[in-house]
């Protein structure tokens, strides 16, 4: 089971839970799994089958260029963090 860290601005959706362990072999599965537990999470993070534009997903500390396609290992950490922008850095 991968550990998902719930961003502080979203913990109202997860009954205050900051970390959730869910199954899934990629980020898409992971989000679907959380959404089953806490409906609405997917809508908050995903738009048009992609992570919303100003949010990034990091798996094991690395921001993923693949977004929802990124593979997730059973012991992975998954973070949803603000996308770094400000023009094209």
């Amino acid at each position: 089971m991968a550990t998902v860290f719930i961003p502080s601005l979203m913990i109202d959706m997860t009954s205050g839970k900051q970390r959730i362990e869910v199954p899934g072999s990629n980020v898409r599965d992971i989000i679907n799994s959380i959404d089953k537990l806490y409906p609405g999470v997917k809508g908050r993070l995903v738009e048009n089958h992609k992570i919303k534009p100003n949010i990034s997903v990091a798996v094991d500390g690395e921001i993923s260029p693949l977004g929802i396609l990124e593979k997730v290992a059973p012991n992975s950490e998954v973070h949803f963090i603000p996308a770094v922008g400000g023009g094209a850095n």
Binding site: N26, K50, P65, L66, G67, L69
Partner: protein, 736 residues
Amino acid sequence: MTKGSNSTNGYKVIGTRPIRHDGYDKVTGKALYGADFSISGLLFGKILRSPHAHAKILSIDTSAVENMDGVKAIVTSQDLPQTNWTKEKDAIMAKTKVLYKGHPIAGVAAINHHIAEEALKLINVEYEILPAILTAPEGLDPSSPLIDETKKNNISNHVKHELGNIKKGFEKSDVIVERTFDTATVHQGYIEPHNATVDWNSSVQDEKVNIWVSTQSSFDIRGRTAEILHLDPSKIKTTPMEIGGGFGAKFDPYACPVAALLSKKTGKPVKIVHTRKEEFESTGPTPGSNIKIKIGATKEGKILAAEATLAYEDGAFPGGVVSAGALCAFATYDIENVLINGYDVLVNKPSTSAYRAPGATNSNVGTETVIDEIAEKLEMDPIEFRLINASKEGVRRADGPKHPSIGVIEVLNAMKKHPHYNEPLPEATDINRGVAIGFWMNGAGPSSINLSVHPDGRINLIEGSTDIGGSRASIAMMVAEVLGIKAEDVTPSVVDTDKIGYTSGTGGSSVTYKAGVAGHIAATNLKKSLIERAASIWGVSPKTVSMENGILFSTKDKSLSISLKNLAKDLNDTGGPIISNGATNPSGAAPSISGHIIDVKVDKETGKIDIVKCTIFQDVGKAIHPDYVEGQMQGGTVQGIGWALNEEYFYNNDSYEMANPTFLDYRMPLALDLPMINTEIIEVPNPAHPFGVRGVGEASITSPPAAIANAIYRITGIRVNQLPIKPSLLMESIKK
């Protein structure tokens, strides 16, 4: 076999007629050709040329020019690297001897071309004039002066092909015809003169020579200029500009090394553009020749023996085209006993170069008029006679190899059935019809293509083949076909030699063939990558994903489908950009056969000849873009007509100077001189090409002279023995 000009054979793109990608620039005057190129600090170069056809250079005195206002540099052969002195260098600027009128002696760079021209007049060259020779028979004469004193005679190349027993063949023949022909030197006559702008940058550790030029082969310009200048080829970057015609003549670097040396000396870019006179006198026309053809056949119409003796002018340096002439001489026929002797003979004319099926038209005018004469003697229909003897796949050619897939029979059958052949001639006695066929083996060569995917699903295509007649479009179409998208959705660019893998020149009817193969490889690779990407997005095996008509879909799950356009949008989020390449040196360019039916009118009082009606038939394998295939067929036909009727390098008696180095006197055909040129595309697919392509650029020039000569015979009863068939000559014969 499919006949017809608009067949698509189930293809979506191939066989259609999209607007060519470079068309807009060309109809608006925006396209940049070589001479249109300019760069800051540009100097203008001019080349001093020999006024003599053959002379020793005793001295060159440039002192009067050296301090001339506005003159920035002068170069002579002394400025060429003195190591590995080669003929090629001698051709760029003569060292000890000039070998033809127009042979470069020196180059001058000045702030404008007028000053450069003035400077040329002040360079004092002392010559010792030597006797000169202008034709191959003269050159073969043992008593003739030697052009290369290190050799025993003026023959630079002798080819001999023998098949069966020629003697026995003629012995068994019931009818034998032997004739001799003389053909004049002719020029490709492209409208855009040669040009080159060269900027030689020296730096601390490196040289970088930039060349902007109109050329058929940017990589040849790079390689040959490098060799002459004794540089590694990659020190040179050749940027091919748009090219205004070539027909085989724009492979040589002519002015490039001179401009390069001038640029090196001045530290500034130098541009040289030929005048039309320089084009005629100092580039590479196709050779004049002397041709002897002897053919024997049985009374049933089976050709038993054929012999050819071909003497081709080489020009001042070795490298003539008799080998191709010899190869093509009897290639359309299945003949048991053949003997061909071919000679390239040095003469005091500019070094010849390729011109559309180089060498083939010369020999073919002999073969096809003699064939016509035999058919007449046997009272057989000339097409029927040819069909009886037609070559086909597996037949051995005189030069050894067996023919691959070849469409002689298909072309002849199409001619035979065609309304033009079957419609009655007008009542008038001054009009008649002639036929002839021709052969060209076509070429290939290394070719490289890069493809990349735009985020809107369009494909970028990068190639090294300069585009003379729409090849950007035809290559883009083949790529589009593989990917199932529109031709307009492929954006082709012809790039410089720093930006693509080696690509041999646009010549030998090779581009659509070889770049097509490279494009097919690249497109197939790209398709594979796209399929893999879709599979990874869907989390399925790539084996279960297909791509058709620009749509990727799962063969197992109907819900999984995405258009190339939509996938392209997502590439950067799903693993990054997708690019591919194709690099190849393919074998298997298959020959192309042309055939002409030409109705000719002769004014028996003046000898003037008019073309009344003309249909060309050609096996193109597969016509990728029929408009431009027809264009090749029509263009080649008209060049053949010009060659047949009027074009020639004319030399007055006792003069070694071309008398007609202008477009006024060189008399290429005008729109007014021609009827519409009907085209019949025959498609016998080339199995060695993914879409069946054969080269289409050259065969079309080979048969018009013979077809016209055969028609003239039917009007006047005269078997012409000379090209061009000028009114004056024809009148003389008629009078006789």
